[in-house]
Amino acid sequence: MKRNQIIGLALFLFTVLVAVPLFIQASGRWDFYYTLTSVALLSIASAGVWLTFYIGRINIGQGAYALAGGYFAAIMVTKAGLSFWLALPLAGLFTAAVSVLIGLPILRLRGVYFAMVTLVLTEVARLTALALPVTNGAKGITSIPLPSGIASLSNVKLGFYYVAVALMIIVFAAMYRLVNSRVGHLCRSLQQNEELASSIGVNITYLRIIAYSISSFFGGIAGAMFVAISQSIYPSSFQVADSVNFMLNCFLGGLGFVFGPMLGTLVLYFGWDLLFQTGKYQLLVYSSLLILLMLVLPNGLLSIRLSSILGGRK
């Protein structure tokens, strides 16, 4: 790692782990905890979508895995009596396993076809949750106990915030590591030309499945964490709109940057909350800003940094 990166990392860790809680303490804006917890969790799910972008697939189906992960955790906790902290990683593994089964056929699709099939997948997940007996159908699963440890905290919000942020840091560190590894370079070759990659002996099926299942793992744990916070889950807890938002987060942050989804989620989710004051014009202002942003920075927010660096090198 270069020195700049280490300083950047230290600054980031300091901000999320120390500065933000201090700021909230000082300003008394306790509601920011939940908002930022959501941002952290949604950016984990978006990170998964980003990873599928990385192998050249537009994924609009992450909501399906978030829902599956949420239900898995809810069922493990309420019916099997498992501790939530065990159910959380299991939910991720469960969704990863499901994604291998689903991914095998559909990862052969490309471009808009893959995008649309994943979009349909979100709806299929919702309808499956409605139809299965184990998910309790339309009535959802409610009154799920708080995870042990957090339940005994005096400030539940702060507890969830730290857990979510810790998960986010681990996920993005793993992503960074992955992207800069040999597998990451191979994935990038898939993004550019699959036939070529295949012809030089890359096992593209295997790579795609690996990337897709990691992506779904992220979706699953994000969904499971949300269930712990809301203590309930319904078939509509994650729906098509969520899947689309996960994808938009990646676009907004910038597809060329590992930390794009984090920034994109922060801006898109927090932006909506900050516009709370505009009342009935909230959606109008929000969408106008989105369009403007796109006109100014069509390659995502983080492209500012890139272009300034390139400009500096001239």
Partner: protein
Amino acid sequence: MKRRSILKSVAAAASASAFISVSSLAAWAANDTLKIGFVGVTSGPAAAWGTSNVRSMQTRAAWLNETGGVTIGDKTYDVEIVTFDDQKDPKRAIAGMEKMAQEGIHYVVGPNVDDGAAAVRPVAEQNGIIYFPYAFPKELYAPPAGNAVLGMIANYQSGPAIYKYLKENKGVNKVAFVAANESDPLSQRDGGITAAKALGLEVVSDNVTYQVDTTDFTPVLTPVIQSMPDLLVLSGVAPANAPQLIRSARELGYQGLISTETAQDATVLQEGAGELANGFISVGGASTPEIASDTMKEFVDRYTKMFGEYNDESNTKVYALEYIVETLKANPAAIDNVDEFKKTMDTFSAANPYMKGDSHLKYVGTTSFGQKRQVFVPMVVNEFKDGKFETLFIAEVD
């Protein structure tokens, strides 16, 4: 910017804000503000539900403030409505409830759907917020839950009353149910089926569902109509779908009765189905001319003036704010203490301004929830006729 100019602009801003606050103080003769929250859906496909909530709250608040505000204990307050659009997303609804807690609000109307109402429960209980959802799951209102108050009549309360009436008066024997494949309507359908079977009615079709975005209901309804019911129940039907379903059923030659347990809007029915909607049975608040008081009529006038068009769903939704304000009047200590509010709920009673005659505002729900966690709204069962609702019968919930 140089330091001096920064200082200058800060000073200017400070004096401007001081001026604004002084002038607003002068205008509102030292009334404090009582903030009441709303967390629900005011955009997207279900916008109609939340919008009718927000608008009736805003209409009533403006009216109260115009007449000098509300006096609670020895203080007079102006009512301010703080709204949050959750986009029908339970995750957003939690953020909305957090925002309400941040604003120091203890009384919130909404959310509009089951998943949102269940998701905000932990936040409401942790922050001492009483909320009035428009969602039916019993565990929201039955112990150990205690902070939710059902803002309307649940389908498992109105359904049996309607079926019983129709069985006795219209000779209904065979019932069919149709619902959208979403949580709320499906739960309501299951509740309806249980109620119908308990009354000894024969359920001839109970599993046909539709996507909410259906543009043609003929294929959906064809098998239902073939089962020859006397009564077709549109469980939890959204106001947007009701006219299309009615129209398709009638065009397929269905002659029997059609009913639902949710509130509908007369204009929407008239525009969407016209005279085919005649005879359609739904549940409303104090809407029909037979029972609406002058206050109700004035409310409708003010709403129409403020927003251009009235929504009949507001007939029920006008009540939640009224209950909050009146209960606070009855026990001023509840203004920042929901435990006081809960205590008052058991004994509270006040005149119902929206209904003619000797009707009272009180909390009910003992039969359904084991504790008083429901507002008492007259269960007015309406029949649609030529663009208007007519009262079929009135029942009560306990």
